[in-house]
Each structure stands twice: as C-alpha cells, then as structure tokens.
Symmetry: C2
DNA sequence: GTTAGCACTCTTTCGAGGCGAGTGCTAAAC
DNA sequence: GTTTAGCACTCGCCTCGAAAGAGTGCTAAC
C-alpha cells in the first residue's frame, strides 16, 4: 500500500511533469509543492515510489517521470472521488445555443469546441446506426431510375442514400411508396429494417423493378448502418506537444487516426458507461505509444451508445480532459434525448 | 533572354532539387543530366542564371537552389507547351467506377485519390451554391413544427436544412406544399430562390405560420448558398516533406488550412479557367512561405465553376501535379455535366 | 524519521579542429 | 570565343573532449 505522503509526492510529480514535460527533481517538488519537508525526504519517498513502479528515471542523474501506473492511479482517484465537475464550459454552451437544428452539425461543433479548449485531438463516435430507430423516411426523385432516400431517425440523425428505382416512378408514386414504407418501418431500428425489406421483396406482388429497388434500398441501408461514424477533430493539435517534436512520430500518430476501423474497435472496447481511460500501453497500438485516450459515453435514444473521447500524449491534463469530456457527454445525451 | 542551354541547366537543377531537396552542385548536373559538357561550363551557366534571378545559393559553398522565378518559368513552359497529359490515372477511375451516386461522395473520393497519389494536400472547392439550380425539393416532417428541407440541384449536389413550419402540417400537407414549391422553383438558381420566396411571403394569402416557415426557409437557403464548400484532404501529407521537418512550420501550415475563408478567397482568385499556379511568395500568405498552390478549374452545371487544387512545398513535382489536377478537373466536369 | 553534506553519475553545451562539398578564378586548350 | 582543368578558398557539418549543471544516493548527524 502507498502512504498518504507518497500520494502527495506522486501527485506533485504528475502535476509538474504535465506542465513542463521535464523530469521532476526532488528539490523542485520540495520547493514548489511541499515546502514543509526537505528535498532529502522527498528523495527517499521518490526512491520508494520508483521501487513500487510509479516513477522512473530516464537516466541516473535526471529527475523522475511518472509511469503509466502512476497516471492510472491518479485518474482512478479523480474519477472515484468525484472530483469531476460536469458544469459545461461557456463556449460549448454558446456553440449549442446558436440554434443549430441538425444533430450532426451540433456534434461537429462540440468536437471543435472540445479540441480548441483542450489542445488535444477529439474523436466522437456517433452511435451504431443499426440501433437508431426510423422516425420517418421519404423517396425523392433524382432522375429517371434513381431516387434519393432520406431517413430521419429518432435521435435526429439524418441519413440519405441514392437508390435505383423503376424508371416509370414519378414524384407522386414515390411519395405513395414512401408513405407505405414509412408506415411499415416507423419505429423499427435500422437493423430490423433490412430484414423487413427482404421479406417484402418475397411476399409483395408487383412490378419487379420496384422490388429490385427495395432490395437495393435494403442493401444501401445495410451499408450505411453497419459502420459507426467517427468525427475526428484537431488531429494537428498533437504538434503542439513537445513529445511530438519528432516529425516521424507525429506522422505515425496521424496515420493511426486515418485508420477509422481500428479506432472504432478501440472506442467500442471503452468502458461501457461513464468515464474511462486507456493510458499509455493500455491502448495496445504500437504507433500510439506515449498516448492516452480518455473516453466518456453518452446515450442517444434508447439503447444506442456513442462515445466522445480525447487522444493526446500520456502526459495529459487529465483533470481538465475528464471534466470537459464529462460535461460534453452530458450535453450530448440530453440533446439527443430531446429529439426522441 | 535566356539561352537554350541555360534552360536545360535550369531544368536539370529543378528536377534534381525536387527529387533530393538538397542544393544542386555543378558536378551533379554535369554528371547526371549533361554528360557532354564539363562541370566548369555548368558552373559558368549557373553563375549567369543566378545573376538572372533564377538560382540562388543558401551559402557560398553550397550548390544552387531554384528560385520562385525558376519554377514560374518551368511551370509556364509545361502548361504552354501542352506537356500535360490528361489521361486519368487508373485508381482515380476505379474510385469513380465503384458506382457512387452521390456527388459529394465522388468528390471526396477524388480528393482522397489525388492526395494519396501526389502526397500533397488536396483542396477541392465545390461551386458557389447560389449558382446551382434547383432540380427538385421536398419537405419531410421531423417533429411538430419542424421539417427537413431537402433540395436536389442540377449538378447532383444535395443540400438539406431544418426549417420551422406550422405545427399542424402533416406529411401530406408538407408534400403538397413541396410540390407547389418545386413547381415554382425548379430550374431557378439558389440565388434566385431567395428572392422568389420573399415575394411569396408578401403576396400569397394563407396561414401566417406557413409564411413564417417560408421566410425561415429562405433564410436557411441564403445561409447555405452563400458559402462555397471546401473539401480538404491529406493535410498531414505535409509532414512527409523535409522542408517541414520543423514542427513549428508544419503547425503554421496546418493552421492556414483551418482558415477556410482565407482559402476560399484564394481559390476564387485563381486563373478563371484551365490550369494555374501560385508559386511561393505569389500566394501572398506569410505562413505559406515556401509553398505553392496549383489549381485547375472545372465546370459544374452551366456557369458555376469549382476548383481543384494541390498545396505543397514550392519544391513540388509540377509535372505530376499538373497532370493529376488536369485529369481530375476533366473528370469532375464531365461527371457534373452528366447529371444536369 | 528527517535533514545537511558530499561524492558521484550522466546529460547537455560549447568550442576547436578536421573533413568534404562546391564555388570562383585563372590560365591553358580547342 | 568557348570550354576545360586546376587550384585556392569558403563554409557548413561532424566529431571529440572538456566543462558545467542537475540530480541522485549514501552517510552521518539531529
């Protein structure tokens, strides 16, 4: 077990290291954080903390650097002790109040606010679309043989896809079909919609071209609903941090952000609700060595969960990040419930 | 006037410098590009070229580096002599053939292909939306008092906006209104639509709430149509180039790309048709020092012009870039004409 | 248990010296 | 008159070594 004073020393090291990105020496801790004891005492404590695996020395005559374990302890402490204040920041609220109606614009704006404020990279995953429920849908004529299918879901997310339809369908006929479809499909999740559409094409009698159109539509929905959407914002922020003074490293970081599938898999693994964090090697991606990912889950409609997360160097201001994420997730949940 | 052989030397310096990013010495030019003459001869030519302002030396015992003027000469030469082959690359065609119907997806895919292939940053400006013509439109009920307006334009670009409508309008009523509106507005440009809608709200008698909805709609269209859209792709590619080994510089570069307004103004100034280039200081943005922007214009529908451009270090493979841009613009023009 | 003192280690910084690349100039050759 | 060989000169870059500085661990005293 770790003593009270060791905790204090550890916290001091973390705070100072987060600020300066330089190994922290015993004298610094004593002077800036714990003036009541001498540097020699701190030195002893630090030596013990190193043995416990919470600190390490880049080299023998340098100060100490917190380990992944140290950050873990610190973050768990922050979360458990409820030191996170979810009051949203002013500018996030301003972004929201500028009366944007369309969900995805709002999410985009929040991502932007988040990464402006934290100077890290923001990734928001919108919920798996198969879990979204159809609120209404409509077919709009584009050109002979093609129509635009617009699906409005319960959380306000709008999806559109171009589908092939029979050549002879005009606007009125498409509208009639839309009404029937909307009637049958309203309230169903996008996942269910596929199955229903397939059974349609087996049982309904009618123009084979229309049936072809319906199958096409099912396929499009399948395609649309099977992937979650990621909104990535401020990836260039990584260049602000001295850990990434090496361009090679920055490039590898940005490369990972391009691989959306990998990120999505990662986000899905994050703690099922509330706040969570992957610290350093916990991420399990070699190219993200030295990074942490902090995530917060939000609810969109019933049962479908999205995450909002921040990726930055392990040496990260966890307090600030947890706070921002927490309030953002909170607002997102409230917003997306509102439109249900 | 510049002699034939000076041109050859200049071209050799440019080609070698573009490849290596190192000052080019006389011996290198003689050995690799002009084995028929000696390095001393090249040395004399280079000295003259420096006097003419086409070459410069980073320091006295280094090789020569081409100046902005040199690139200008070279690019003008390439364009004027018709050395640009517009045959599209295979993978660009593949991206297109993967049957994407929606214009914006196609444009996105082309941007991606372009920056994968060139390793520079691609910026595509879609045409000013006020010039787009309405093909059809439809109002879709979202919730009481709000509807989604979907406008399909002649070039296949789809715009949607949430508008406030009277509370008592159900799907059928909205559809009826849509038909009337589509009838009145079809073929008009988005710019004209605003005016027409305003005159509506003065002359049509009816439910004031509907009128309010129409005014709201006009405002939304105004907002949507007044800004051009930029698609930026591969901004992190800049990190691949040794000029940007300095993180500070890379950051400034990425910062400029975030300022869309500035970019749009720049794109608008580019040569009104065909190929054009801003080389180095011609750009006129301090933070883009050492960069060039090459642009190609494309037509989308009648009268509305978009540009596709590539931003990279001044030391850029202009031949390749001009070629890729030219063929991409060509394909875009053809594609967007098709859907008219 | 805490602290002062001190020897020790290791990085960082700075300057000197040598190396190499490339030039400009001169004089000779074509 | 143009081209070429030869040579002295310049200047950036690399390496090496010494000095400085930061921080530790240990010991002995409080």
């Amino acid at each position: 077990m770790i003593t009270k004073r060791q905790k204090l020393v550890l916290e001091a090291v973390i705070l100072d290291y987060v600020q300066t990105c330089e190994p922290v020496g015993s004298r610094t801790v004593a002077r800036k954080y714990m003036p009541q004891v001498s540097s020699a005492t701190i030195r002893n404590e630090m030596s013990d903390l190193e043995e416990l695996g919470y600190l390490s020395q880049p080299h023998v005559s340098a100060g100490r650097v917190p380990s992944d374990n140290a950050y873990r302890l610190y973050v768990d402490h922050l979360i458990r002790e409820g030191l996170i204040d979810t009051t949203p920041r002013e500018d996030t609220q301003r972004a929201l109040s500028s009366r944007m109606h369309q969900t995805e614009d709002v999410v985009q704006a929040m991502a932007q606010a988040l990464c402006d404020w934290t100077h890290y990279t923001t990734v928001i995953m919108t919920p798996r679309q198969r879990d979204l429920r159809v609120s209404t849908l409509q077919l709009i004529p584009l050109r002979p043989g093609a129509a635009l299918l617009v699906i409005v879901t319960d959380s306000g997310i709008i999806r559109d896809a171009v589908v092939n339809v029979a050549e002879d369908l005009d606007a009125d006929k498409l509208y009639a079909i839309s009404r029937v479809l909307a009637d049958k499909l309203g309230g169903k999740s996008l996942g269910e919609v596929q199955g229903i559409l397939h059974s349609f094409s087996q049982f309904v009698e009618g123009d084979p071209k229309v049936l072809h159109g319906i199958a096409d539509l099912a396929r499009q929905i399948q395609k649309q609903s099977s992937n979650d959407t990621l909104i990535i914002c401020g990836s260039e922020n990584i260049l602000y941090h001295p850990e990434y003074a090496d361009v090679q490293k920055a490039r590898r970081f940005l490369k990972v952000l391009e691989d959306e599938d990998k990120l999505i898999r990662l986000m899905r693994h994050s703690s099922s609700e509330g706040l969570g964090a992957f610290i350093g090697s916990e991420i399990g991606i070699a190219d993200l060595e030295g990074c942490s990912i902090v995530t917060a889950a939000y609810q969109a409609g019933k049962g479908s969960r999205g995450t909002v997360s921040i990726i930055g160097p392990t040496r990260m201001n966890y307090q600030q990040v947890l706070q921002s994420l927490s309030s953002t997730a909170d607002m997102l949940s409230r917003m997306l419930r509102r439109t249900t």
